[in-house]
Amino acid sequence: MALLECENLRKSFFGVEVLHGVSFSLDRGRVLGLVGENGSGKSTTMNILGGVLPRDGGRIRLEGAEFDPRGPKDALAGGIAFIHQELNLFENLSIEENLFITGFPRLGGALPFINRGRMRRRARELLEQVDIRHPPGTPVGSLSQGERQLVEIAKALSVDAKVIIFDEPTTSLTRREADRLFGIIERLRRRGIAMIYISHVLADVTRICDDITVLRDGAVVGGGPAAQMPTERMISLMVGRTLDQLFPERTCTPTATPVLEVRGVSQPGVVHEIDLTLHAGEVLGIAGLMGAGRSELARILFGLDSFHGGTIAVDGTVIEKPSPRTCMEHGMAFLTEDRRGEGLMMHATITDNIALASLDEYASPWARFIERTRLGDEVGRIGQKVRLRAADPVAALARSLSGGNQQKVVLAKWLLRNPKVFILDEPTRGIDVGAKFEIYKIIDTLVAGGAGVLMISSEMEELMGLCDRILVMNHGEIQAEYSRGEFDSGRILEAAMKRKTSAAAPGAIAEKVA
């Protein structure tokens, strides 16, 4: 008998059926990979399982008994833990408090007071199981994304979950953190816990899952043991046709004209003596582990963070006082890794988001009125150029868009300025296969138009598939450089991991300070 069986699950929103009878089953100690494009019904299915949404039809059996969760708490009590893509952790509370937020151990068992000693002991046990070495009293706010993910898993373990659902767990993790997560998943599997793993990173799915189920348009279109589901098969099932390639053909080659020249940029404790040159028509990748200083370098280059020595020049002109404004004026654009926090105004319309960085260009000379018709036309044009898909390409709110379309909005915002230098920090994070391909194509168009792109990514395949050159950062320094012909994932990884890091973890610093 399977541990968990879902039969014919149905769900409609506003009279439109989005889930047309999804069925699958899961055994103890197995990992089920669930793949599909955005909108294929993965999240809806899992939200039903996790008690977030009620189902309209079908049945769920857990250990043979009917299972009908009325809310997240109910599902959890039944043994199904759901680890959302956006973690449900409270940064102002400590790790242990987050673990037990709905079920604190109490003094004397029933008194309304928290038994701190017991909580700490249990937290230590749980943290040990997920390899976190911070004291349980550490505030979650000072943990890295990967560590927070592990705290969520510990939370699931604390209630003896029988099934753990992971929704895109690796989007904000570095390779190393992801490896650590996979190790933990392996360990859980051996303990007999069943897991459902949702991800767009198909290589990961192949690597860790026992079985794979593919969803498309709210229905199961295929599935089977992982061994029988090579990546190409998954993709063709997901998109409903065969994809010839994951990356578009590059249509240009780099020129010799430098557009961005960075010389000796240093910031104590962050980056050291960074030299790099980006040419027109070039995609320059930056590889490295998380914490290697890639995003920090990007922020420094765009004037968001200060630096102590060195110069940044665009088109041969040194930027005097780098700030986002001056950098933009020199022709730079920056797509941040934190799309929701820094990239978009989630409650504003697409138009407002796209226009935000270019308001000055559409302002009348004296009174600074916005030339709304011209702006509207341009925004529409750019929207088409990035193939933005939305119910209302002008007035839809950013938060109503899928991740891929949100990212296109951010790109469109910068495209409107016609920049010469693009700094893209994890541009395809959390985006489905189809949208990724479109973003790659946009990048190609950009460089073909004479711009230079500096691209940071944690997905090695992506860098190797798209870049002309890859720099490897390690420890705040540029460790190695490879040209297209010399790409080799082993060598890149070796460069990225060379020299054991001796730097203090951010958590440790915060502790010393507090």
């Binding site: 926090g341 308001l359 916005i370 709304r372 915002k413």
Partner: protein, 342 residues
């Protein structure tokens, strides 16, 4: 389903469409005002007289100017509690410049313009100080403006003692008083001023670069910074505008009372913020319009006027005012929930 039920269904859906249109229109507060007006009319028929309507309009004007300033600050997710103290401080400073009883420029033809300039300067200066502390020193707006409110409320009273032995500064020049009472083309001067401020504010918010940036700062400050918005300058601008608007309100208040008084406006803080928020502007930033504020102010002034006309005892005045505000807010909340469902 039977034929009759279909029919009722159809009729009720027509009804529903209408209700929906009214509920979701951004003019809801205006409709509520009209509804309230009609509701109190049987009790105070004089409400419909030209004189009362004119009073309502003129009572709205100064409140509206401060409220417009406050709208800017709320849009950038700030709050400005210091506006009442700006009104008081500007009032006594302006009066001290132009009063016939030993004013700095008593009798000079420049007295009136200089005094008005001084008043606006007071507003701008306090607004600039607020803006500086919030953007450069990274202090929370609530507490910064709370302390400036305390400080300048006290300072206004103290300042008055240097200029008069009574509790207020009177004997303002004729020119200033006439300015408040006069009219151009049959429209009172104060209305011209408020119209100008209102239209300007509306244009700034809806049409200019600054307006877009104000909304952006309120929506997502970090995203705005990354997109090259000079966040600090924009937020400081909002506080400057709020200070200047409060000073203009002070000119209007001082003009209608013909007196510079240090307790001017001390009790209207919650009215100001309440009017803006009832209009629909969010306390959490990124959302707000000048017309909404106009409706919010209209709604509050309408309630106030009706209560004044009724001549009720203090407790019923308080209770009714509270109940009506609550009712308006409940209707607003219910409609947003309907909107979320449809």
């Amino acid at each position: 389903m039977t034929a009759t039920s279909l029919e009722t269904e159809a009729r009720s859906s027509g009804m529903r469409r209408f209700v929906r249109r009214v509920l979701f229109s951004e003019y809801l507060v205006l409709w509520l005002s009209v509804l309230y007006f009609l509701a109190v009319l049987p009790f105070v028929p004089q409400m419909a007289s030209v004189e009362v309507l004119r009073n309502i309009l003129s009572d709205m004007l100064p409140l509206l100017v401060v409220a417009i300033g406050q709208t800017f600050v709320l849009i950038v997710a700030g709050i400005d509690l210091s506006v009442t103290s700006i009104i008081a401080m500007a009032s006594v400073v302006g009066a001290s410049v132009m009063t016939g009883d030993g004013g700095y420029l008593a009798g000079s033809p420049l007295a009136v313009p200089a005094a008005m300039l001084a008043m606006v300067t007071v507003g701008l200066a306090i607004g600039a100080f607020n803006g500086f502390c919030i953007t450069r020193l990274g202090m929370p707006p609530f507490i910064v403006t709370l302390t400036t409110m305390m400080f300048f409320s006290g300072a206004a009273i103290w300042f008055t003692t240097f200029h008069t032995t009574t509790s207020s500064i009177a004997n303002l020049p004729h020119g200033f008083v006439v300015l408040g009472q006069g009219n151009i083309g049959g429209v009172p001067n104060s209305l011209w001023v408020v119209l100008a401020v209102g239209i300007l504010a509306h244009i700034v918010l809806a049409r200019t670069v600054l307006g877009r940036r104000l909304y952006a700062c309120g929506q997502n400050r970090r995203a705005a910074a990354v997109s090259g918005v000079p966040v600090r300058k924009v937020i400081a601008a909002a506080f400057l505008i709020s200070g200047a608007c409060a000073a203009v309100a002070s000119i209007l208040y001082t003009g209608r009372l013909q007196t510079g008084t240090p307790i001017l406006g001390q009790t209207i803080l919650l009215d100001i913020i309440g009017a803006v928020v009832i209009g629909g502007t969010s306390l959490f930033g990124g959302k707000g319009k000048v017309v909404w504020t106009v409706f919010g102010v209209l709604f509050l002034v309408l309630i106030d006027t009706s209560l004044k006309m009724l001549g009720l005892s203090l407790f019923s005045v308080f209770a009714i005012k509270g109940a009506v505000i609550l009712l308006a807010a409940v209707i607003d909340a219910v409609r947003t929930r309907f909107a979320a469902r449809i």
